[in-house]
Amino acid sequence: MSVDAKQAPREAGRAAVVQMRGISVEFPGVKALQEVDFRLLPGEVHALMGENGAGKSTLIKALTGVYTPTAGVTLLDGREVSFSGPADAQDSGISTVYQEVNLCPNLTVAENILLGREPRRFGAVDGRACRARAAELLADMGLHIDPGSVLAEHPIAIQQLVAIARAVAVDAKVLILDEPTSSLDQDEVAELFRIMRVLRDRGVAILFVSHFLEQVYEISDRMTVLRNGRLVGEHLTADLSRLDLVSLMIGRELGALAEVERLAGQAGEEASTVPVLQATGVGRKGSVAPFDLQINRGEVVGLAGLLGSGRTELARLLFGADRPDSGQVRIDGKALHLRSPRAAIAAGIAYCSEDRKGEGVVADLSIRDNLILAMQAANGWARPIPRKTKDQLVEKWIKALDIRPADPDALVGKLSGGNQQKVLLARWLITKPKVLILDEPTRGIDIGAKTQIQKLVAELAQEGMAVVYISAELEEVARLSHRVVVMKDRSKIAELDQHATVDDIMRLIAHVDERSEAVAA
C-alpha cells in the first residue's frame, strides 16, 4: 500500500506541509528505513505507528536532520529541504520532542524551556522575564512547579511535560511528539490532548507517536504504519479498526484483540502468606509519609496513584536509593539496614528504575555485556561464569523479551527506545531477586511486547518471586496484582485485595480529593 489520494478524500485542497518520498536510512548493519513515503497535512494529528524498532524515531530524526537519509527527498511546503541538524529544522518551523527526555538536568526548568530563545534585555538574558514566561507556559499545561527549580529535582513525568512545554512554546507549523505520553497519567494526557487540539485547530501539523492505542484513537485523524523499516500504509483513523491496525503493525493476523488480552498476565490464584519483605513505619521527611507494607512470596503488589503521589519515592525507599529516616525493613524476618542500593541488592531486592537513561542501561556496552554485568553482580565478582552459560543465558533472555535486533553484540545505545527498556528489564530479571520492584516496566513498549512482559511477571510470581509493580496504567496494575496499594499525596491511603477494579482505585483517589477539598473550603 502506498499513499493514495483515493484513500483519503478529506484532505482535498490541503497541500502537505511535510512530504517525504522514498526515504531510506542505514546504520552499519541495519537498514532502519527503506523507501518510506510519509506526509503530514496542516491542521491534522498524524499518528506514526509500529512496533518497537519499526523505525518511527528514525523517520523523525531523518526529517529533522539528526540523521541523513541515504536516499529519498524531503519537501517542506513543497520546497526540497535537507536540514543540517535539529537547529536548522527548528528554524524552519519544525518543533520536536524526541523520544526520552532530552533536556539538561543541571539547568532550571525555566532555562530548559527557553534555552536558545530567552527573552533578552540589552543583549543579556532577562532572568526574571524568563521565569515569568516559563511559568506562563507551564500554567497553560496545568503544571504549577517553580520555574526556578533545577530540572533534575523533578520526576521523569514532569520532565516530559517540561520538554513538551518547550516544544509548544514556539510558533511552529509542524509539531513532532515522539512518545510524549509514555510516563504521563490520564490527567496529564488529557491536558496534552487539549493543547494538541488547540494547536491543530490553529493549523499546526502534528506528528504523534504512542504505543497506547486508546490515545492514538482519541487524538489522531490519520495514521501511518511502519513495520521493520518499511511503510505498510497510510489510513484515516476512522477507517481503521484497532484489530486491523494491530495486524498491520505486527504483520500477522491476530484472531482478536482479545487474544492479546488472553495472553497477558493475570494475577495467579492465591499468593502465599509467607512474608518476604515487611516494612513498618518506613518513611522519609519530604518524600513519603511513614507506611507499613508487607509483601509475600509469589505475590504481585501493585502501586497505584497519580503522578507525584509518591509511587517512585516509595520504591526508592525500599531499595535504599533514598535513605529512610524512620521505620524498619525486614527481609525474610531479618532486619535490614537500608543504607544503600548495594545493601538492598545484597539482601535480594532489585529495583528497575523508570529512568532508564539516567540510571538504567549502559548505552556504550553491547546487549551481552549489559546482561553479563547484571549476572556478575548477582554472582559475586570473584566467581567467574563459564562463557557458555553466559551465552545461553543471554540468548534466553533476548528471546524471552523479544529484544530486537536479537544480536547480543548490538550496542544498547543504538537500540530503539522500547528495546532498551527490555534490556533494562532483563538485567534485573537475571539476578533472580527475592523482591523485584518494577517502576513503569512497560513504558514505551509496544502492545505485543507489553503483554509478553506482563505474562513474564505473572510467571515469575508464580515461581515465588515477590513483585512490586508500579504503573501509571491502572488497568495493568489491577489485572496483574494480588494486592493494590493506593498512594496519594505522598502517603499510602489504602490497600485493596485482588478483586480491586480500576474504578475502585479511581474512586479511592478521587474520594479523598473531595474530602480534603471540603476541608479546605
Binding site: 528554524d91 534555552l115 529535582e153
Partner: protein, 337 residues
C-alpha cells in the same frame, strides 16, 4: 528527589517549603570557598602583624592577575565538560613571542595584537579538532601543550628580557587606590575581564548554551542549540585568556622564557575546582574561580609571612584543599537525585 516539587494539584505543602528554600546546592561550594578565604585571611591577621594592611590584599591581586585570567578562561571550558591543559604552555609561548618580537623592534600595540591572535588561533584549532573529530579534550589540549612548549624553544632557548619602554612603563605604573595602597594595570585588566566573563557566562545565550552542553551534549544538540559554536568558542576564549595572561605575565617578569608558567594549567584547574566548578561540567561560576585563585594566593602569602616554611608547602596545602573540595562536591551532588 526529596525536594521534587509535586504538581501542586494535590495542594502539596511541599511547594511552600520549596519557595522558602535556602541556597541551591550548587552555590554551596562557592560559599564554602568564600568562607575558607575569610578564615585563612583571619588566621593571617591574627598571627602576623601587617597582614591586614591594604597592600597585602592588593598584592594578592597583583601577584595573581595572570592566574585569575587563565582561571576565567578555564571556567568556560570546564563548564562545558572539557578541560584545557595547554594554558600554561600558551602563557609561556605568549611571553616568548612578545619578548622576541619586541626585541625585533615591532611596536608594542602590534605585538599585543599578534599575541592575542596567536592565542585565540591555537584555541580555535584545538576546539575544531575536539568537536569535529570527537577526540577527548584532555588528549587534544595535551598535544597543544607540547606543541606550544616546543614552539617556545623554536623562538629561542634563552630567556629574553623585555626592554621596550611602553611595556616597561606599563609594568611599573602604579595606580594609587589610597595613600599607601596601589595596584598595577594588570589587576585592572584581570578584574575587567572577570566582569566581562561574568556577563558572558551568566547572562548571555552563549553562556547558557555552555552550561547546557556541560549538562548533556546530546540533549543540547537535539534542543537545537548551537553546540558546535559554543564548544569551539570556549577553547577560543581559553586561548585568548591564556594569551592575555601571557602578556600580563611578561609584564610581571619583564621577560619571555620557554620555562615560564610551568604547571600553571594545574594551578588554574585547581582554582576553578576549589571555586566550585564541577569537573564533569554543567555547574560553575566565574566568581567562584576568582575566589579559588584568591584562596591559593592567600595560602602563598601565609607561607611567605611565616617565613621558615618552604614554598612547597603551598603545594601541599593546595593538594589537600583540592581533595577536600572535590569530596565536598560529591557529597552535595549525591544529595541531589
Amino acid at each position: 528527589m526529596t525536594t521534587s516539587a509535586t504538581p501542586v494539584k494535590g495542594k502539596a505543602p511541599l511547594g511552600a517549603i520549596l519557595r522558602g528554600r535556602s541556597v541551591p546546592g550548587r552555590v554551596v561550594p562557592v560559599i564554602a570557598t568564600f568562607v575558607l578565604f575569610v578564615l585563612l585571611f583571619g588566621v593571617g591577621a591574627a598571627r602576623y602583624e601587617g597582614f591586614t594592611s591594604g597592600q597585602v590584599v592588593a598584592n594578592l591581586f597583583i601577584d595573581n592577575a595572570f592566574l585569575i585570567v587563565i582561571a576565567v578562561g578555564m571556567t568556560f571550558v570546564i563548564v562545558t565538560g572539557g578541560i584545557d591543559l595547554s594554558v600554561g604552555a600558551v602563557v609561556a609561548l605568549s611571553t616568548m613571542v612578545a619578548a622576541a618580537s619586541l626585541r625585533a623592534g615591532l611596536p608594542a600595540p602590534l605585538v599585543v595584537l599578534l599575541v592575542l591572535l596567536m592565542g585565540s588561533t591555537l584555541g580555535l584549532l584545538m576546539g575544531l579538532v575536539i568537536h569535529y573529530f570527537e577526540i577527548q579534550p584532555f588528549i587534544v589540549t595535551l598535544a597543544g601543550m607540547f606543541l606550544a612548549r616546543g614552539l617556545c624553544f623554536v623562538v629561542g632557548v634563552e630567556s629574553i628580557s623585555i626592554k621596550d619602554p611602553t611595556f616597561r612603563s606599563f609594568a611599573t605604573a602604579a595606580i594609587p587606590l589610597s595613600q599607601n595602597v596601589s595596584i598595577t594595570w594588570s589587576v585592572v585588566i584581570a578584574l575587567a575581564l572577570v566582569a566581562v566573563a561574568v556577563w558572558v557566562l551568566h547572562r548571555t545565550r552563549f553562556g547558557r548554551t555552555a552550561y547546557a552542553v556541560g549538562g548533556s551534549e546530546s540533549s543540547a544538540t537535539l534542543m537545537g542549540l548551537p553546540v558546535a559554536k559554543v564548544k569551539i568558542g570556549v577553547y577560543v576564549i581559553s586561548g585568548l585568556c591564556s594569551a592575555i595572561a601571557g602578556l600580563l605575565f611578561s609584564l610581571y617578569m619583564l621577560s619571555g622564557y620557554g620555562l615560564h608558567a610551568v604547571g600553571m594549567e594545574l594551578d588554574a584547574i585547581a582554582s576553578v575546582v576549589i571555586g566550585g566548578t564541577l569537573l564533569s561540567g554543567g555547574v560553575g561560576y566565574v566568581l567562584g574561580s576568582l575566589l579559588g585563585v584568591l584562596v591559593l594566593g592567600v595560602i602563598q602569602t601565609l607561607i611567605s609571612f611565616q617565613g621558615t616554611l618552604s614554598s612547597w608547602w603551598t603545594k601541599i596545602a593546595i593538594g589537600t584543599l583540592l581533595l577536600l573540595f572535590i569530596v565536598m562536591q560529591r557529597v552535595f551532588m549525591r544529595r541531589q537525585p
